[in-house]
Symmetry: C2
Subunit: 237 residues, 2 copies
DNA sequence: ATTTCCCTTTGACTTCGGTCAAGCCGGGTC
DNA sequence: GACCCGGCTTGACCGAAGTCAAAGGGAAAT
């Protein structure tokens, strides 16, 4: 009993399930399956028929596309508490995964069968709204990515990444520990590892940051923001 | 009475409303407002608080972002029968439009108030599913855009555009009438008008297409596809 | 008919980021 | 210790697409 409550709390970390009540989660818990992945394991591939979506319990999964030449572009790295591939279930009768999914580390997931989930969904407007909320977030994220890719240069994107991953505070200086290999970050930002390196070196030369391996010190947040700033009203209502 | 039925059919052109029954649409029809726009009119801007979403009855509306330097990138051109900005309603209590919206032509829209619509939504799982379906389409579209922007070059994107807008058939030759100004297409593909022109000229030189103003003849579909082809299983189940 | 305006095209040049190649560094293994 | 290996960095070079500038062409206005 205690275990189930803990499991529910785990699921509720996802926006998708945040508003669901215990009964609904109990129904879901009955139909979900556990999945374990080792680093490098492929969960599904681009174009494959989509039958389930996933919740990440632990580990990290990368969602990516591959060019004809083998180049890989990571669309998103999914972390514990997040769901992914939910969207596919609504592409008509038979959806196909729009990306590849591969474990970056040992990972434990829950898998939800499309058909069974749709049944739960039709009876729970809470989960339905959670679904819409989760998808809406992804939508915004993708629009921001497109904006960065088309209207901004590589330096902008990298600086944005640093600022987004910095603990937000009032100080002029802050520290970041890169938890992801630099090559992976580069792929997310759609730049080559070489360029990634060079931009970091440039920022260092400009006195804006210091780099020690995966530890980066942002020395001049104002300066960095002025490189990256876009005049968007902030989200505080 | 007849008028209402016609109006319902009009709304049902949108995936969002496709599965809604007459009663639900009647409720919606009661709360929706008509909006008329002249070419160039701004409907909303990036960052503005989002209170309504829209259905296009006639005309065309472009959704776009602007770079600090004033460069414009069109994310999508919305056509009659489509809805847009639905996603914003689920970003917590107070969403903000993630893009600018501006009429390209004289346009007539229906506007739906967020609060009132959410009430209808909570009572109609059909509309909820329609919503999920509409958003899921957008999601796929955006992922494909990102793919094109990061893993493919400008020629690929342009050829893809041509192929997607060609009447699909078995013939080796087909005709396209560009309904959108070339500059607008260029912005959608995230290339400059000059580059757009040059790529068309190149394809012409290669004997793959013929260009007469806005009328384009695809002379060699196999050749074009081989420029653009990506090995993705097709959507036929 | 002529002018104007804007969209489009063409040409010359620039530049950002990619590619290729070589070296570096830290961690694991034997 | 010596070795290897993968991830990262640095340098030299290249090329696709952007920028700047000018000219062509079609439609609307005068």
């Amino acid at each position: 009993m205690k275990d189930m409550v803990k499991q529910f709390d785990e699921l509720r970390r996802a926006h998708l399930f945040a508003q669901a009540d215990d009964a609904q989660l109990a129904t879901l818990a009955r139909v979900m399956q556990e999945v374990e992945l080792a680093p490098g394991d492929t969960l599904f591939t681009h174009g494959q028929a989509a039958e389930r979506f996933f919740f990440v319990r632990s580990g990290r999964v990368k969602l990516f596309r591959i060019s004809p030449e083998g180049q890989e572009k990571i669309i998103e790295v999914v972390e514990p508490g997040q769901t992914f591939a939910e969207a596919v279930m609504f592409m008509g009768s038979q959806g196909h995964y729009p990306v590849n999914a591969q474990a970056m580390t040992d990972s434990r997931l829950y898998a939800f069968d499309q058909k069974q989930f749709l049944k739960v969904l039709s009876e729970s407007s809470e989960i339905c709204l959670g679904m819409l909320s989760a998808m809406s977030r992804r939508l915004h994220m993708l629009i921001n990515q497109i904006d960065g890719l088309t209207l901004q240069n590589a330096t902008y994107r990298l600086v944005m990444y640093l600022l987004e991953h910095a603990p937000q505070g009032l100080a002029e200086t802050t520290e970041i520990e890169l938890t992801t290999p630099k090559g992976v970050i580069a792929s997310q930002l759609a730049i080559q590892p070489e360029t990634f390196s060079r931009i970091l070196a440039k920022l260092k030369r400009l006195g804006l940051i210091e780099v020690n391996g995966n530890h980066i010190t942002l020395r001049n947040l104002r300066g960095l923001r002025s490189l990256a700033y876009v005049p968007v009203p902030d989200d505080t209502a």
